[in-house]
């Protein structure tokens, strides 16, 4: 279980020393094991900040993050390093979130070596298994990220996250910018992986449709706060807040446009 309680995060606005922008104002969220949660909201609502805090890349100004009863905020760097693999973040732009000078083998080998301390032979086997899990062939082992297609890059990002044997994977706008077919394939893949490996996902998106398709719980976020939470959403009519309804309208008009 990954839990955040009363998270507050402020940023300095460049050029204005005294003004602080409150990106998150007291957000609490719980990600149960083997569940899919979604956070929906417009850009600037604090979704990505929350993703970085939950994956302990950034520290909050107030509040705490706990992973299975262990408080992540406030432990030493070494302890943090050991827990690093448990929560993984998959970012929006697959191309720029992979080191351009590493090849596929090196990208997948690094977490196995650093976090799981596996031997050389085992690592090689595991890399092939990982590629297989995300439906990538072993023939791309020596390619660099810029020699892969957008879909392959995305799959590679998922494989890299899986390499650390995580409990939770956070997808920060990971599905925007993909064409409809590809997105469907990836979402389908993620669902299968979840069932197979008993993972828990947090999907951060501005697209209510994706959230509805994937999640057991949907949080709607605006101005650094969670304004509505819907458990086991069945239809768009489950949303009641005026802002949520605007998101519903946006999703509906997008569907119409697609048809």
């Amino acid at each position: 279980m990954l839990k955040a309680e009363g998270i507050i995060k402020k940023y300095q606005i460049p050029g204005r020393k005294k003004d602080l922008l409150e990106a998150l104002s007291g957000v609490s969220i719980e990600l149960a094991d083997n569940s899919i949660t979604a956070i929906v909201g417009e850009s600037g609502s604090g979704k990505s900040t929350l993703a970085r805090i939950l994956s302990y890349i950034e520290l909050p100004d107030a509040g705490k993050v706990t992973l299975d009863n262990l408080t992540v905020t406030g432990v030493k760097r070494k302890t943090l390093q050991k827990m690093r693999g448990k929560v993984q973040l998959v970012m929006q732009d697959a191309a720029s979130s992979l080191d351009p000078h590493q090849n596929v083998l090196q990208i997948l080998d690094e977490p196995l070596h650093l976090l799981l301390d596996m031997g050389k032979e085992d690592r090689k086997k595991r890399v092939e298994e990982l590629l297989d899990m995300v439906n990538l062939g072993g023939d791309i082992l020596n390619r660099r990220p810029d020699e892969l297609s957008g879909g392959q890059q995305k799959r590679l990002c998922v494989a890299r996250a899986l390499a650390t044997e995580p409990q939770h994977i956070i997808f920060d706008e990971s599905f925007s910018g993909l064409d409809v077919t590809l997105r469907k394939q990836i979402l389908h893949l993620l669902r299968n992986l979840r069932d197979e490996l008993r993972l828990s996902y947090l999907i951060i998106t501005h697209d209510l449709d994706i959230a509805m398709y994937m999640a057991d719980t949907i949080h709607v976020m605006r101005f650094g706060k969670i304004i509505e939470t819907v458990y086991k959403p069945q239809s768009f009519s489950d949303f009641h807040e005026p802002y949520s309804n605007e998101l519903v309208k946006a999703a509906l008009s997008k569907r119409q446009a697609l048809q």
């Binding site: 693999g85 732009d93 979130s97 080191d99 351009p100 000078h101 890299r160």
Partner: protein
């Protein structure tokens, strides 16, 4: 990597030029027809003939032999200086810029102080301090020039550390040091190769200006910079004496530059 170099004409040309320079450095005594310091005043400023392929200088020394030996003295100082310079400025600037905070501010102050003095002044002050001439020249070049390179490195690192892949590396369990040496430096290195390879020619010129001030290698040592400076007095009567060492410097710097740039293109094709 090697295959890519072999397929790129620019890299091959640069490599060939560098190899020629290294060949001359290694085998100067076997190729040179004369001793570079052998005087023949009767033959001073003679035109090229079978004995003196490029003619003689104002002291009657064989210009061709002096150019060949000059490669030795120029490169034996310029190359080590360049390597130390590149190492120092890359490591210092990368660590400071990546870790940021107080460290980066200290770097900022220190580099401002270094930049306040013209490199030449620093070099002149330092060059007399040590007994070994070569060592003091190298040291003074490094101290005088590191900060200018480090500033450029810093800019690249600051840009690089904002990229999302740094977060991914942290997710994969990399420590800060591993991120610096395994991810940031390899990614900025291609850009630095170009800067440092251009630096080679300025180092050769700098060494030559030492000679001009009498601070460099002993007077009369065959060295491109010194030959270049000496020939200045004869620019109207014997312009070719100015052209030869100039071409040598251009050839060497050009070779390193072409190779450096080609390596960058091979290494970081996306940013070109």
């Amino acid at each position: 990597m090697i295959r890519k170099i072999l397929h790129k004409p620019q890299a091959l040309l640069g490599l060939a030029m560098m190899l020629i320079v290294f060949f001359v450095v290694a085998f100067a005594p076997f190729i040179a027809p004369h001793d570079p310091s052998e005087l023949n005043v009767a033959h001073a400023l003679s035109a090229p003939d079978s004995e003196y392929p490029l003619g003689t200088d104002e002291m009657g020394r064989c210009v061709f032999s002096r150019l060949l030996y000059g490669a030795r003295s120029s490169m034996s100082i310029a190359l080590p200086s360049l390597i130390i310079l590149a190492l120092v400025s890359t490591v210092v600037a990368t660590v400071c810029a990546y870790l940021g905070g107080v460290l980066d501010r200290i770097f900022d102050v220190v580099s401002n102080i270094f930049m306040a003095f013209p490199p030449f002044l620093v070099a002149i002050t330092l060059v007399g301090l040590f007994e070994s001439k070569v060592f003091s020249i190298i040291l003074s070049i490094v101290i005088a020039m590191w900060v200018w390179n480090a500033r450029v490195v810093r800019t690249y690192v600051l840009r690089e550390k904002q990229k999302p892949y740094v977060i991914t590396c942290r997710m994969s369990g990399c420590s800060e040091l591993r991120i610096i040496f395994r991810h940031i430096i390899p990614n900025v290195l291609p850009h630095l190769l170009v800067i440092f390879s251009t630096g080679l020619s300025s180092i050769i010129i700098m060494i030559s200006s030492y000679a001009f001030l009498g601070l460099g290698l002993e007077a009369g040592t065959a060295e491109w910079g010194a030959m270049f400076v000496n020939a200045k007095q004869l620019i109207f009567s014997q312009p070719q004496l100015l052209v030869y060492p100039g071409l040598c410097i251009l050839f060497t710097a050009g070779g390193f530059n072409l190779f450096g740039e080609a390596l960058r293109d091979i290494y970081a094709p996306r940013e070109g």
